[in-house]
């Protein structure tokens, strides 16, 4: 929030770091504290605090205007259930439901298995399993490769002391041959 509302102050603070690094800092613009001037100032400036205050002012103005000109009477009653008898919590939309359209648009990016109940199902149930293609395509094979490699390398450490001595012996001979 602070960074959003007071960018100019933070940018000038960072500017000192840039100067210390010997790079070219911001031009010493004389913009008022509430204004954020980009480098070529002609482009477009932005004053977050003033913007927020104006919008809030307009909102408050509308509230007062409506309250003043018209009335504030409120009456409570049941939500419109469009003919359905009993609305309960289970019928409420879930987050997954909320994301369904976007997921539908980006279908190819998700490896999604969906089980839709057919109208003739005795016990219809709906389930969806979403997996990240990258995880299936890249990470799992990579993990499998590392595990397989680890198993093969584990054979090196097979417990017999004569094998270990042989490793030492062979390294010594190879290095000596290399050195000649």
């Amino acid at each position: 929030m602070l960074l959003g509302l007071l960018p100019a102050q933070i940018v000038t603070a960072l500017d000192t770091v840039v100067r210390q690094l010997g790079l070219q800092g911001l031009p010493t613009a004389t913009a008022p504290w509430w204004l954020l001037l980009p480098l070529p100032d002609r482009q477009a400036s932005y004053a977050p605090l003033v913007f927020l205050v104006t919008v809030a002012a307009v909102v408050v103005l509308t509230v007062l205007a409506v309250r003043a000109v018209w009335h504030r009477r409120v009456r409570r009653s049941a939500a419109w259930d469009c003919g359905f008898v009993r609305l309960d919590a289970r019928m409420q939309d879930t987050a997954e439901g909320f994301g369904q359209p976007i997921r539908h648009i980006f279908q190819p990016f998700f490896a999604m298995q969906r089980e839709l109940p057919t109208p003739f199902d005795r016990a219809p149930h709906y389930s969806v399993r979403i997996a990240d293609r990258l995880w299936l395509g890249l990470y799992q094979p990579l993990g499998g490769l590392v595990r397989a490699l680890a198993d093969r390398i584990a054979w090196l450490q097979q417990g017999r002391i004569s094998a270990y001595l042989l490793y030492g012996f062979v390294t010594l001979l190879v290095l000596l041959a290399l050195m000649l």
Partner: protein, 318 residues
């Protein structure tokens, strides 16, 4: 930063008031054109004003489980739309508000309005509210990049993202054929139609809950809240048309804050509104409503046009 003169404040206030007043008029005019084009007898031009006034007098009926957010949201949405009107240069371009917010801040403001609308829709928890919110978010999710691309292409031409500066730059440019602007204009109209729930994406006059997007979110509202939201919707259409004028038809807006210039600019602005309203109605009657999951393709083409405009601008330099 030249001192902000009183006249500039005058133009600013004038713009907001014209927006508030003219928005329902534009909405009424579009409905009238549509009716004529579909050779139906048109409702009167002032019908939106009458319905808004009627709603303001009714008692507000709130759902039992409605939270305070439900009651505040209409005011916030209306407030943001009014503030957006202040940022967009409809009549004059010398606005004190220019340094405060540029095009991108404007898109942010519209996004906040959309967020509040979606939250309010989901607040009561009825199936239709969430249905509408979900679809609105989908549309918004796809329309925003296209809108930003449009503003980006326009700012490429005029080296500034502040809408008044773009308008001034384009107005003073020699009139010629700019293919990049043409493509971006097409993209912008498609975004306008999608964002304001016009025909190809959502039918404003529909009563079929399953097909609604914008209307589904307002189902739970009544009386003054509904009035505010209706008015905000008309204001949103008005704002979008003003953005369209600023980016693609900036001639005739007053480039100085003197009263005579403003007075001269008003009739031209009225004429532009009439033409735009007629255009929207024509497009609506010519096209049929798309299935909800065809809307992404529609908006993807909009984005494609905007990017095409960008490429043409960069490659051909026009």
């Amino acid at each position: 930063m030249n001192a902000v003169t009183a006249l500039e404040w005058f133009t600013q206030v004038l713009e907001v008031i014209t927006a508030l007043a003219a928005a329902p008029l534009l909405f009424g005019w579009v409905n009238q054109c549509r009716a004529w084009l579909q050779n139906r007898s048109a409702p009167s031009l002032l019908q939106p004003y009458r319905s808004i006034r009627k709603l303001f007098h009714k008692d507000a009926v709130l759902a039992t489980n409605a939270s305070p957010l439900f009651r505040i949201a209409p005011y916030v949405i209306f407030g943001t739309m009014a503030a957006a009107a202040a940022v967009i240069p409809s009549v004059g371009t010398h606005l004190p508000f220019t340094p405060v917010a540029d095009g991108i801040a404007l898109v942010g403001l519209l996004a906040t309005a959309r967020v509040f609308q979606a939250l309010a829709a989901m607040d009561v928890g009825t199936a239709f509210g969430t249905l509408g919110a979900r679809r609105e978010m989908m549309i918004g999710f796809l329309a925003e990049p296209a809108l930003l691309m449009v503003i980006f292409v326009a700012s490429l031409l005029s080296a500034s993202t502040a809408l008044p500066a773009i308008a001034e730059q384009l107005a003073s440019q020699a009139v010629g054929i700019y293919p990049s602007l043409a493509f971006t204009a097409v993209a912008f109209t498609m975004v306008l139609l999608a964002e304001n729930a016009r025909i190809p994406v959502d039918n404003p006059a529909t009563h079929l809950e399953l097909t609604m997007i914008h209307e589904a979110m307002l189902l739970e509202y009544s009386a003054r809240h509904l009035a505010l939201l209706e008015w905000a919707a008309t204001l949103k259409l008005f704002n979008y048309t003003c953005i369209g004028f600023a980016l693609f038809a900036p001639w005739g807006t007053a480039h100085s804050e003197t009263p005579q210039a403003l007075l001269a600019a008003l009739p031209i602005f009225g004429l532009k509104l009439l033409v735009a309203g007629g255009g929207i109605a024509l497009v609506e009657t010519l096209s049929a409503k798309l299935r909800v999951f065809r809307a992404p393709e529609f908006l993807a083409t909009a984005f494609l046009f905007a990017v095409l405009g960008l490429l043409v601008r960069l490659l051909l330099g026009a």
